[in-house]
């Protein structure tokens, strides 16, 4: 089906896939009447993807047919699919049907198979046809026969206004004859990284539009497949001017604001609070969060401490989060650092930011992102894009990052993090005549002045506050330096 563009060149309409994230990486969806190959090894999600598209099309009022060759039995497929939320038994048989065409392939070859496909498209008037088992269809056929088969299929698809998905587990690294003919090639993969596996989807070929290139992570759960576009491809456009704002946002700690020339953090800036365990990073984040209002909503993304622990912690320092939560000023979001991909977490985070118009964001445990990635070499670009996007959305971000050494005057900035920092605070312990004291040092502030030096930091029932200047002998002045191995590769993540 086509429509006219302003210059009267007919454009092909898109088919909405009902697979969250897929249409985004395809630049709007599959083209209607196109013939696409969905390729991947067994178990990578081809069947679920194709079924989800079928059921989605049916839900939109269309009809679909799923044709199998040598694939799992229909009854078994239905049993498996019935556990997924998109399964709808009411779709059968008028709107959706599973049929086998193996007999026709066996007795009549590709011509016999084409007869079935043509007939099914015409009699059922389907908008989506899936052929599961292209490998079986191509066995024994020459490259030319297969090309002719696909060419004929393309012609019929246009005439019948039907989008065709060909599923195959063929060798994903081999350029097959059929690849040259089809309108698009989507590849699914389930790759093992040590003990952890990560699913991905890649649009290798897509005629007529520019998809988001490269691999994108993918999840399969009870809702079927969700695609999480790689954030670097999604937000590849350079950041706007949001970061040039001169207004200030309170840190939530008046004595800390007093050290800053603009009496707060620059609006839409990114601050990293770095320090070892127990130095007060989470507490500083809670102060920042507690300054949220309904007009300036706050969000807390924690990887290590859950919402209930945070509420208790805040309460012990005179900050009640519950009323703010009830008023819609604060939301606490917890994320396991090992059960999601970085793109999934970023998507969830940005959706939460957009949903409530968040202006103050705390990411407690930046290393949660580092632990979530199986591609550490991505992390610098990932953080850069994420923080740029948050700046563009006028979000002021406070992030905590834990150092390995409990007592040290050297800041080890993980590879990729230093580039995104507008402001950098260093929290640390020092020994002082038998006492352990917390110190805060402002290392860097973007485009604004600040009072440098070592500040005593107190945490009590009233929360965190600056308690004067610390005068010390010896090496306590911190120096920030990125760490990485000699080849420049990122280090392995640590909490």
């Amino acid at each position: 089906m086509t429509s006219s563009s302003p210059d009267n060149v007919p454009t092909i309409e898109r088919l909405r896939s009902a697979v969250p994230g897929l249409d985004q990486i395809l630049g709007g969806g599959l083209f209607r009447t196109g013939v696409y190959i969905i390729q991947g090894l067994p178990g990578c999600g081809k069947t679920i993807l194709a079924n989800q598209i079928c059921y989605g099309h049916v839900a939109e009022g269309g009809s679909a047919v799923y044709v199998t060759l040598l694939a799992e039995s229909h009854s078994r497929m239905i049993q498996h699919l019935s556990t997924l939320s998109f399964f709808d038994v009411k779709a059968f048989p008028d709107k959706l049907a599973y049929i086998s065409a193996f007999h026709d392939l066996e007795s009549g070859g590709l011509k016999g198979l084409m007869g079935v496909l043509r007939r099914e498209m015409r009699t059922r008037k389907v908008g989506v046809l899936v052929l599961d088992g292209l490998v079986a269809a191509s066995e024994g056929a020459s490259d030319l026969d297969l090309k002719k088969f696909i060419h004929e299929l393309q012609s019929i698809a246009v005439l019948q206004d039907c989008t065709v998905l060909l599923l195959t587990s063929g060798n994903i690294h081999r350029m097959a004859a059929e690849h040259t003919m089809v309108d698009g090639l989507v590849e699914l993969e389930d790759k093992l990284f040590d003990a952890r596996s990560e699913r991905s989807i890649q649009v290798r070929k897509f005629r007529g539009a520019g998809p988001l290139r490269g691999k994108h992570s993918m999840r399969i759960d009870n809702d079927g497949i969700t695609v999480f576009p790689r954030i670097e491809s999604l937000y590849r456009i350079a950041a706007g001017d949001a970061a040039s704002s001169e207004s200030a946002v309170t840190s939530g700690i008046p004595s800390l604001d007093a050290l800053l020339a603009i009496k707060g953090l620059p609006a839409s800036s990114a601050t990293v609070v770095i320090g070892s365990t127990g130095t007060g990073k989470t507490t500083l984040g809670l102060h920042f969060l507690h300054a949220s209002t309904a007009e300036e909503p706050g969000l807390h993304l924690g990887f290590f401490e859950g919402p209930e622990r945070l509420r208790t912690k805040a309460r012990s320092m005179g900050m009640a989060l519950e009323p703010l939560e009830a008023a819609g000023a604060v939301e606490l979001m917890w994320q396991s650092p090992v059960e999601a991909t970085v793109d999934e977490i970023a998507e969830r985070l940005l959706a939460a930011v957009a949903r409530r118009g968040v202006r103050r964001l705390v990411i407690d445990g930046l290393s949660g992102f580092l632990e979530s990635t199986v591609y550490p070499e991505r992390i610098a670009r990932f953080f850069s894009c994420l923080v740029n996007e948050l700046r563009n959305r006028r979000v002021t971000v406070l992030m905590s990052l834990e150092t390995r050494d409990v007592v040290s005057s050297v800041i080890s900035m993980p590879w990729g993090v230093s580039g995104l920092v507008d402001n950098l605070f260093f929290l640390r312990f020092v020994h002082d005549e038998g006492h352990v004291e917390r110190l805060l040092t402002i290392i860097k502030m973007r485009d604004s002045d600040y009072q440098a030096g070592l500040r005593r930091l107190k945490i009590d029932s009233q929360g965190m506050h600056i308690a004067g200047t610390y005068r010390a002998d010896g090496d306590v002045i911190p120096s920030a330096q990125p760490v990485g191995n000699p080849e420049g590769a990122p280090p392995s993540p640590s909490k």
Binding site: S73, F92, P93, A97, Y98, S100, H103, D104, R119, E120
Partner: protein
């Protein structure tokens, strides 16, 4: 010898089922869609048909309707089967003698067959 017609587009399933029925002493025939099955049914007039619901060309319900409309098959028992729940099928068609939800155990099928037509 009692005759049974097995109709299923998943030919492997139909063939396996036919072999089992043959071993149990029935004369079994196979077809891969409703239209082919009608031709065979008119030829052999089976005592019982085991027919899948979703098939190309002619589905199990349409096949059974044709059978029911022909007095020649007045005594032919129809066992409809599908991976879908019976409630979903019954809304569309209820002219069958028994329904089997796939996957089913062969003992269940044989008990049903014997109950209808004996051996």
């Amino acid at each position: 010898m009692k005759t049974i017609l097995v109709v299923d587009d998943e030919l492997g399933s139909a063939e396996v089922l036919s072999l089992i029925l043959e071993e149990e002493g029935f004369k079994a025939y196979c077809a891969v869609n409703g239209r082919q099955a009608l031709v065979q049914a008119r030829d052999v007039v089976p005592d019982l048909v085991i027919v899948d619901y979703m098939m190309p060309l002619m589905n199990g319900a349409d096949f059974a309707r044709e059978l029911r409309a022909d007095p020649k098959f007045a005594d032919t028992k129809i066992v409809l089967n599908s991976g879908l729940p019976e409630a979903a099928i019954r809304e569309q068609f209820d002219g069958y003698d028994a329904f089997l939800r796939k996957p089913f155990k062969v003992e269940t099928l044989l008990a049903l067959v014997e109950g209808f037509i004996g051996r």
